[in-house]
């Protein structure tokens, strides 16, 4: 867990009330009106806060509390809308909601950072838009308008859209069917909201700590069950500036090769589907071919989005810094195989939303790596997570495994707790 002052906490048992989920958007109308009004107040408050922080080096206590409550309330409402939490949230942003954030005590902030806060915040806001608030309703793009209503609309953004919106839509169906929110979707939505809260807190001058997009640093240790496909990350963060500058062009041969290989892989997947349907497991040769393709796809994606540095090979061989390990062929359930493509649709949606995140990671990483020669760890890990999810989705619909992709924003399963050492009986004193 990181030491970022804005910490996300999730105390949620995944159970949902079908009735409130069915009418969730309608039930949230009073909150939406309320947050719109509150946001108008926040626009004026933050202008005042900016001047105060610029001259005194810190926010007045009252303003700090007001803005902190606002960010917390926006997170609660976002969690409610994204079905990341069940109870109807309060209107004051008081602590104690199942998906909550901690607001730090006010502290001194360097004036130069305060002066250019909005400019510095642009990358974080763009990323937050893809993770939480989305580019649509309430997204950051209405800030261009100078009138306070438009600015308020931006602040009104309550963390739904982009990845969180996809989680909400998929979760809505899942909850109506099962009465429970899938843990992966809940965790992903909560992570998006957590990052968005960090970004808002930064813009609203609650902290001068830059938002950290590392999935392992936002919120609790995310649950990630064992899966036949695992991410292997061995990257030191260094990037060659020349390779970064021409990254897309260097990737052109890979794009061509990937396109050709994709055609063959789709054909092979169709054959594999029949094989698994009749035999109950993949043929060894088909499995090897498709695994190499999935691995190659992961390597190229990681290279293009700067999640990894070296120019990848063309054979999908293991050993790349952002790599995929896949278990040998195992038995697959036939009924899952029969409906595989249909069942994969939710994963395609999540994967699609994460591909937008990956694009933004690549774009922001490009500038960062060009200037510093390094890929920021937070962006790298978020990108690696997205690559992991895309690879699990590929493995699922190519009938390599029937284990469903897991959306929890974790790179790898948490380490197994070490077994308690057996206490030997004290030797009796002789």
């Amino acid at each position: 867990m990181s030491d970022h002052p804005i910490q996300l906490s999730v105390e949620d048992d995944l159970r949902r009330t079908r009735l409130t989920v069915f009418f969730r958007l309608l039930l949230a109308i009073p909150h939406i009106i309320w947050i719109t009004l509150w946001s108008i107040g926040v626009v004026f408050a933050v202008i005042f806060a900016w001047f105060a922080a610029l001259f005194t080096g810190r926010l007045p206590q009252g303003l700090h509390d007001f803005l902190g409550m606002y960010v917390r309330y926006a997170t609660h409402l976002g969690a409610y809308l994204a079905i990341a939490a069940n109870p109807y949230p309060g209107f004051t942003g008081a602590p104690g909601y199942p998906v909550d954030i901690s607001i730090p005590e006010r502290q001194r902030q360097p004036r130069w950072k305060t002066a250019i806060r909005l400019v510095l915040a642009i990358p974080a806001l763009v990323l937050a838009a893809t993770l939480g608030s989305g580019f649509g309703g309430g997204g950051g793009y209405s800030t261009a308008d100078s009138d306070s209503a438009s600015a308020a609309q931006w602040f009104t953004s309550s963390g739904v859209g982009g990845v969180a919106a996809v989680c909400a839509i998929l979760g809505w169906f899942a909850v109506l069917a099962t009465g429970r929110m899938p843990v992966g979707l809940r965790n992903l939505a909560a992570y998006g909201l957590g990052y968005t809260a960090q970004a808002y807190a930064y813009v609203l001058l609650l902290t001068d700590r830059y938002p950290n997009s590392d999935p392992e640093a936002v919120g609790p240790v995310w649950e990630l069950p064992q899966h036949p496909l695992r991410l292997e990350l061995d990257d030191d963060g260094r990037r060659s500036r020349l390779l970064v500058f021409f990254r897309l062009l260097f990737a052109i041969p890979h794009f061509v090769w990937l396109l050709l290989w994709s055609i063959a892989a789709v054909l092979a997947a169709i054959v594999n589907w029949f094989v698994v349907l009749f035999r109950g497991r993949s043929a060894e040769a088909l499995h090897r071919f498709l695994v190499a393709y999935v691995r190659y796809y992961a390597h190229v994606t990681a290279f293009v989005t700067l999640v990894a540095n070296p120019f990848p090979g063309f054979a999908g061989a293991p050993g790349y810094p952002v790599d995929i390990a896949i278990d040998p062929p195992e038995r697959q359930r036939r009924w899952i195989t029969l409906f595989r493509l249909f069942l994969a649709i939710p994963a395609f949606f999540v994967s699609g939303a994460l591909s937008v995140v990956l694009f933004v990671v690549g774009l922001l990483g490009w500038f960062a790596a060009l200037v510093t020669g390094r890929m920021p760890t937070g962006l790298r890990n978020l990108g690696a997570y997205s690559v992991r999810y895309a690879s699990q989705t590929n493995a699922y619909w190519f009938v390599i495994t029937d284990a469903y992709p897991h959306a929890s924003p974790a790179l790898r399963p948490p380490p197994e707790p070490e077994p308690e050492p057996e206490l030997l009986p004290e030797p009796e004193a002789i």
Partner: protein, 395 residues
């Protein structure tokens, strides 16, 4: 034995070159000094100033290019640590990095060219636009160099000393393929000029070929210079006019002279001959690359790739005068065919004069510049040919 083989190969090469050199231009044709009357002295001076910049710029840019490639040949292998792609993939990466460095080194010169063109009203292109326009070109180069290195390094891995024998035919085939598909890659429209379409059919018949589609390419975004070109093989044959040639600056007779000239390229099989000339140079060129890179472990070794780029550029520079001689020879033949087709030397002369006035072509460049840069006969020579044709025309 080796000497005999080399002698035979040289003989075959010589016969091939002699056959390709054949031309319909009469061997006893003597060209006088072309009359530049009609071109204002101020324009001649302006054209001279305009082209002088490009000569200097070319020399400096090539020196910079060579400097960059020498450094890259020496230190380029350090970039191998940025690759996880195995032998051939690493070679591809090194090849692309080499092109990237070349591209970076040439950026200031490209911008300077735009600046100079804008000063002389030869282009409306902006500087940023110039930079972005070249990205697509660079991407295509990356793709080509990657493919070329896959072929070369795969062959060199199997046949370390004889790869060039297999690689050269592949590249010749590629050149032919590219010549065939190029017309389909450029955006052109059918020429909507019935008079020129009719002239095209008439001229094609006179030159003994089937009618060839006439197309127009919109180039206004990057240049105001007039031009036309012949492209394609077989069904992809085209004559393409830049729209700048058809904007009314040139008379119908002048445009028809251009049309006859371009058809002359097709009827003389110049596009095919171009590939054949390439074939004649590709084989010894590939052999020279193989020889030069032997000390770096040969082309099977990625470490040889940076050096091979230097060798290619040096060979390219050295062969530039030879390429220009061949190109001028073909252009001269097309000019002659145009005169034989239209029987109108006056529009031809005014057309060439107009090239100087509009495109600021120096009609009489210095010899060194003519040898190094000019792929077409000088304006003065082209006017002289029109005059020579008029003198020989049967009364």
């Amino acid at each position: 034995m080796r000497a005999v083989v080399l002698l035979v190969l040289a003989g075959i090469w010589g016969v091939g070159a002699w056959l390709l050199w054949q031309s319909v231009v009469p061997g006893d044709l003597t060209l006088g000094d072309g009359s530049l009357a009609g071109i204002p002295p101020a324009t001649l001076e302006r054209a001279d100033r305009y082209e002088r910049f490009f000569r200097v710029e070319f020399v400096v840019s090539q020196l910079v290019l060579l400097g960059v490639l020498v450094a890259y040949a020496k230190y380029g292998i350090r970039f191998a640590k940025e690759s996880a792609a195995g032998r051939i993939g690493t070679g591809m990466l090194l090849g692309m990095i080499g092109f990237a460095l070349v591209w970076i080194s040439q950026v200031p010169f490209r911008l300077a060219e735009v600046w100079w063109d804008r000063r002389y009203d030869q282009t409306d292109s902006g500087y940023v636009e110039t930079l972005f326009a070249n990205w697509i070109e660079l991407g295509a180069e990356f793709l080509f160099v990657s493919f070329a290195l896959v072929v070369v390094m795969a062959l060199a891995g199997r046949f370390p000393r004889r790869w060039w024998l297999g690689a050269a035919p592949v590249f010749i085939g590629l050149a032919f393929l590219f010549g065939f598909i190029y017309p389909y890659l450029t955006v052109t429209e059918r020429l909507d000029r019935p008079d020129l379409q009719a002239a095209g059919r008439e001229y094609a018949a006179k030159q003994g070929i089937d009618p060839i589609p006439l197309r127009v390419e919109d180039v206004t975004d990057f240049t105001s210079a007039p031009n036309a070109y012949a492209v394609g093989f077989g069904p992809s044959k085209r004559v393409v006019f830049w729209n700048t040639l058809l904007d009314g600056s040139f008379t119908d007779e002048e445009v028809k002279t251009v049309l006859a000239h371009e058809l002359g390229h097709h009827s003389s099989n110049h596009l095919f001959e171009g590939v054949a000339w390439y074939a004649l140079f590709a084989l010894p060129g590939a052999w020279l690359i193989a020889r030069a890179t032997r000390r770096r472990g040969g082309m099977a070794n990625p470490a040889a790739v940076p050096l091979s780029l230097l060798v290619i550029v040096v060979l390219d520079l050295l062969s530039l005068p030879v390429y220009n001689v061949i190109s001028r020879h073909m252009e001269q033949e097309a000019d002659w065919k145009a005169l034989e087709t239209t029987h109108q030397p006056e529009p031809a002369k005014s057309l060439f004069r107009e090239f100087t006035i509009q495109s600021l072509n120096d009609p009489d460049p210095p010899t060194w510049s003519y040898v190094l840069f000019d792929s077409h006969p000088s304006v003065e020579q082209r006017i002289a040919m029109a005059e020579a044709w008029r003198k020989r025309e049967p009364k």
